[in-house]
Amino acid sequence: MEPLITRPPNAAGEKTLVRDISWCGVHNGANACMVDVKDGKIVRIRPARYYDQYTREEVKPWVMHARGKSFEPSDKSLAPPLSLAYKKRVFSPGRVRYPMKRVDFDPKGAPGSTGPGGRNAQNRGVSKYERISWDAALDIVAAEMLRIKETYGPTAILNQSDQHGENKCVHGPHGCMRKLLRLFGGYTLQVRDADSWEGWWWGSKHVWGCEPVGQQMPQKNLIYDISKNAELILHWGCDLETTVWGWEGQLPSRLSYWWTELGIKQIFIAPDVNYANAVHADKWIPILPNTDAALYLAIAHHWMENGTYDKDYIATHAYGFDKFEDYVMGREDGEAKTADWAAPICGVPARIIRALAKEWASKRTTIVIGNGGPGIRGPYATEPARLQVLCLAMQGLGKPGCNQAKMIEWGLLDDYEQESPPAPSIIPNLHDAYTGGTPMDTNHPSFIPKSLVPKALLEKDIDWYGNEHEMARREDQFIHYVYPAEGCSRIHMIWTDSPSWITCWNAGNDYAKAVRQDDIEFMLAQHPWLENDCLFADVILPINTMLEEDDIGSDLFSGQMNLLFPEERCVEPLGESVSDYEAVCMIAERLGLLEEYTGGRTIEDLIKIGYENSRVADKISWEDLRRKGYWVVPPMEGWEDIPAGLIEFYEDPEGHPLSTPTGKIEFFATGLAEHFPDDEERPPVPKWIPKGVTHEETLGTERSKKYPLLVMSNHPRWGVHSQHDDITWFREIPTCKVTAQDGYQYQPLWMNAADAAARGIKNGDIVSIYNDRGVVLAGAYVTERIMRGTIGIDHGAKYDPIEVGVIDRGGAINTIVPRGITSKNACGHAVSGFLAEVEKADMEALEAKYPDAFARECHITAGPCLAGFMEGRV
C-alpha cells in the first residue's frame, strides 16, 4: 500500500507525521504532535507547527483584545509532556506483544473447577501468564462466547469498554466489540457513570439543567468574557495545569498567565497547592477535602445576612430561594450556617470566609473549573456542585464576568455551545470513521452503571436509578432499573478493553473480589500493556498503540486552531499486536460475522470515509491533505460577537429559559422533590451532609476516630488516569515517584510536615495508607503544599498487588476509596475526600509474609512490567 503521507522525508532522511497523541477516548482528538520518523524508528515527538505548510495569511489566527492588551494562539500546538514522552509508552517493558493465557486457566475445566485442568477463577490476579498463538487464543474466545451464550444467553457477557485509553479513530480503542456483540445476539453493557462530572451531573442538573453534563452550558466565548469582564477568578478544587493535559494541552496555562497580566485576581480553593496554584495563585485558601459545601453555605449566609446578593436577579431568575434561605439562616434546622459554623468543618478561619464572601460580592467573579479535583469527587458531591451554582446565581449568574467557565473538554461535544475559546470556523467530525463506542451508547434492557459493577457481581441482584448512558438527560435520573434486567442473565463472562477499573474507579478491592468469583467463568482483556485489570484476565489479546497504525485524526481541543490530518503509522506494530478493531475483526471472523461486522469496509476505506465526512473535504483535496499532512481550520469570522456563556438567560430569563422544570435556577429542586422527597442524601435543597446511609467519611464521625486523616485524590500530574505510569522519564521526577530505600518507586503521598512528624514519618519513608477497605503502600512526600489533616495521593498508579483485594504496593489508591456511590440515588463514584490513617510501613513483616509478591520482577525504572507476570522468560 502507498504511504498515507506523500510528503517526502527531509534532507536528514526524517519523515514528519502529524499524530493525535491524546487520551480523550473517542474520535475527537487533541494534542497534535509532529512525529519525525526514520528507518522505522521514532526519532522525536514535538509540538505540531501550524505554519509549517500554511501561512498566517491563509490561517488568519484569532486575536483577542482586552484591557488594552492582546492574546493570540501560539504558532504550535501546546502539547503536554505526556505527548512528548509517548515513545516510552510505546516501547514500555509492560507491552503485551503476543496473545497470552493465564497459566492455570484451562478452558476445558468446568465452571468453578479448581486445581490442574480447572479454571481456577480464585487465582485471578495471582497466577502468571504464558504466550499462546493467535489461533489458540481465538479458539478459546470463540468457544467461550458460544458456550456462555448457549448456557445463559448472550446478556451473560459483560462488556467493559468505556475506560481510560488512547485516542484512535478507525482503530477505536473503546468498544469496538459492541457492534459485534449486537450481531452476536446481545450483551450487557457497563455504562460509565459521569466521572469527574459526578457532582454536577447528579446534582447541578437539578439546579440549572445545563445538559448534558451539568456543568455550565453554554460555555461559548467565556474565555473572551473573562478576559474582558472578570475581576476575580475562583479556581475551585480544580487544576488547569494537570487535568487538562491529556485532553487539550497547555493553552489554559498561557491564559492564566495572561489573566494575571490583565490584573484579574486568581484565588485557589483546595486542600493543596496544586500545580496551577503553584504558579498562578494570588491567594490560596486551604480547605479540608470535600467540605466545600459548608464553605458555600457560609458564604451564602454572609450575603443573606448583609443583603449583599442580587435580589432582583433572584426574583426573576430563581425558584425556591425562600426554602434555601430557611435552611441557610437556620430556620429549618435551628442551625444558622454562619462562618463560625463552617470554620471548624472546613478548616478555613471564619474571618477568611467572611473576607471571601465580601470580595466575591464586590467583584465580577467567574468560577473556573477543570473537572476532577478535590472539590467535586467525594461522597455527596451533588451538594458542593449544586451550592457552587447557587452562589453564582446569588451574584447574577450569566452577567458579564460571572459564569462557571470550563478549562477542559472544549471540543468534546461537537457543539459550538461548548467552545469557551474563540470559535473555529469548522468543528471537524470523524464519527463516520470511528469504530468504537461512544458515551451516548446505551444497551436496553441490560446495562449496569460502572460504579455498581462490583456490587452487581457480588450481590447478584441490585437496583438503582438512572445512568442509562453518560449523556442521559436529567429525567433519566428518575427511572428505576434492575440487574439482572427482566429476561436477561447474570454476568458469567467479562470482555474488557483498555481496562483500568481497579486504579480508577470506586472500591477497587471489591472489584478484585468480584472478578475472582467462580461464576465469572471467563474474562477476556485486550490491551497494549499488561497492567491493572489485565492481571485478572484469563486470556489477553495484544493490542498496539496509536503510533503503530494508519488512522485519521484531529485536534479539536487545543483552543487555538482545529486540525485534521491523515495519520500514517510511525512504527510497525510490536510483536504480534494488532489494533482493537483488528482484534475484534479476528473474533468476528471466527464467529462467521466478519462481513456483517465490517460492512465490507477496509481500514483504507474507513480513513477515506472519515475525511469525506469530516466537514473539511470541500476545503482541501485528499491529495493535498496527504501531501501537506494536515489542515488548519481558521477561526470563525465574527467570533467576538457570539454571546458569552449564560448572558442570554441573564438578560431575558423568559425568552431563554433553562432546561429545569421551572426554566429557572432551582434553589429547591422540583424534580428531586417530586421523585425523591425523602432522600436525605440529595434533598431538594442542597445541604452539608456529614454522613448518611451511604457514607461516613468526614471528620467528627465515629469512623474518623480510627481513621483521622482525609484523603485527597486528584487526577494525576504525570499521566491520564491509569496511563503513562510506566514512563521512565516521568518516574525520575520527584513529584511522580518516590524511590525508597528498597529501590522501588512508590506513588508519592503528600503529607504536611506536622502530620508526618506526629507519626514519626520522614520524607522518602515507605508508608501504609489504610482503612477498613484495605492497605496501599506509598512513598512519603513531606511538603507544605498540603494542609494539615489532609493527605494527598494521585490516582492512576499501576496496581501491583501484594495480596489481591487487600494490599497494593503500586499505590493504586482507588482500591480503598469508598465502595458507596455518590449518594443513595445517585450512582457516581466517590473517590476523593474519605477517611484513612497512615503509618510507617513494616516492610520486614510484609516481605516475610508475602515472599512471592516481593520476588516478582519489577523494572527498575519503569515499575511493574510484563516479566513480573510471565511464567518463564518473555
Binding site: 534532507a11 536528514a12 526519532v43 522525536r44 515527538i45 514535538r46 509540538p47 501560539s74 504550535k76 501546546l78 502539547a79 503536554p80 509532556p81 512528548l84 514522552a85 515513545k87 495545569e241 493535559w245 494541552g249 497547555q250 496555562s253 498561557r254 498567565y257 497547592v273 500545580y275 503553584a278 504558579v279 495563585a281 491567594k283 490560596w284 485558601i285 486551604p286 478561619p349 471564619a350 474571618r351 477568611i352 467572611r354 473576607a355 471571601l356 465580601k358 470580595e359 521512565t728 522519564w729 516521568f730 518516574r731 525520575e732 521526577i733 520527584p734 513529584t735 504536611n752 511538603t783 507544605e784 503544599r785 498540603i786 494542609m787 494539615r788 525504572t861
Partner: protein, 276 residues
C-alpha cells in the same frame, strides 16, 4: 555572533516539557559527533528543579532550570586534559564524545550545578549541546525551547535586536563568576516574607495595615500594605534578616523579628493587632 538562551522563571509553569523533550532528542538517539546517546534515566541536560517556598498557607513554587551555560570562558575547557571540549564559532560548547577519555575533570571544574554528567557505560562526560546537530540543519530552536508552551525559553542569535533587548534585561545565574555564560535568566527568585494581620477581638482580617521590613544589616526598608485578607507579601528582598513593623490607625503597632530570610522565604503566620 553566537547563540544564547534566555530562561524566564516567572512564566515557567513547571510542565517539564523542556526536560522531557531533551530526553526525547538525546536518549537512544546518536548525534555523533555532537553527542552520543544520553542514558535513559539519571541525566538531565536541562534539569527542572522544583523549589517549594514558604509554609501553609503562604506557599509558592518556583521552577528553576539547570543547564550548561555555554561559557565564553569555560572552566571545563581549561580543565579537560584530553582536549575534548571545544567552543564552536556560534559559541556552543561541545564535549567531543570521540575525544573524551572519561577523566571527569570537567565535572569538577564546572562551577554550576547539575550540568555535566558522567556516562559510565560509554565512559564519557555529557551535557547540553544547545541541540547543535539541529542548529546545523537549520533549526532555529533547541528542543527545549521548541517544546516550551509559555515562552519561558527564548533561543536565538545575540545579534538579533529582539534577543539583545531581552539579554539586556536579564541576569546571570552566578554574576560573581568570570565565566561569561550564554544562558541568561529573567526573574531569578528573590526572598520574600509574608504573613496575615488580623484583629483577634473582632475576628476580622485587617486590610490596609502598613508592614515595613527593615534589613538588620543594611537598614534598607520595604513597605507594603495588607490586602482584604490581611495578607502581606514583602517580595524582592535581598537575602538577610529583617525586623517587621506593623501599623494600622486605631491599633497598637507591632514589631516582629528579626526574621531570617537568608536561606529561605519566611511565612510569619497570623499576626494579631490589638485595638489601641
Amino acid at each position: 555572533m553566537g547563540k544564547v538562551l534566555i530562561i524566564d522563571l516567572a512564566i515557567c509553569n513547571g510542565c517539564h516539557n523542556c526536560q522531557i523533550a531533551c530526553k526525547d532528542e538525546h536518549c537512544a538517539n546518536d548525534w555523533s559527533p555532537i553527542a552520543k546517546p544520553q542514558p535513559d534515566t539519571g541525566q538531565f541536560w536541562n534539569k527542572v528543579v522544583e523549589m517549594e517556598r514558604g509554609s501553609v498557607p503562604k506557599v509558592q513554587v518556583t521552577y528553576h532550570h539547570s543547564i550548561c551555560q555555554h561559557c565564553e570562558d569555560a572552566p571545563c575547557m581549561k580543565a579537560c586534559n584530553a582536549g575534548a571540549i571545544y567552543r564552536r564559532a556560534d559559541g556552543i560548547v561541545i564535549i567531543d564524545p570521540n575525544k573524551c577519555k572519561g577523566n571527569q575533570l570537567c565535572l569538577e571544574a564546572c562551577p554550576y550545578e547539575n550540568v555535566i554528567y558522567f556516562n559510565d557505560d560509554l565512559n564519557i562526560a555529557q551535557k547540553c549541546t544547545f541541540c547543535a546537530h539541529l542548529i546545523d540543519r537549520g533549526w532555529t530552536e533547541t528542543r527545549c525551547s521548541d517544546a516550551c508552551p509559555t515562552g519561558a525559553f527564548t533561543f536565538g542569535d545575540d545579534t538579533d535586536p529582539a534577543i539583545k533587548a531581552k539579554v539586556a534585561a536579564a541576569s546571570l545565574l552566578k554574576p560573581g563568576l568570570a565565566t561569561r555564560p550564554r544562558v541568561y535568566y529573567m526573574n531569578l527568585p528573590k526572598k520574600w516574607v509574608a504573613g496575615a494581620v488580623y484583629d483577634p477581638q473582632a475576628d476580622e482580617c485587617l486590610e490596609g495595615a502598613t508592614v515595613t521590613a527593615t534589613n538588620t544589616a543594611t537598614g534598607a526598608k520595604v513597605t507594603v500594605s495588607t490586602d482584604n485578607y490581611g495578607d502581606f507579601w514583602l517580595k524582592g528582598l535581598e537575602d538577610g534578616s529583617y525586623t517587621l513593623l506593623i501599623e494600622k490607625a486605631g491599633y497598637l503597632a507591632k514589631k516582629l523579628g528579626p526574621v531570617d530570610a537568608t536561606a529561605a522565604d519566611q511565612n510569619v503566620g497570623d499576626v494579631e493587632l490589638w485595638k489601641a
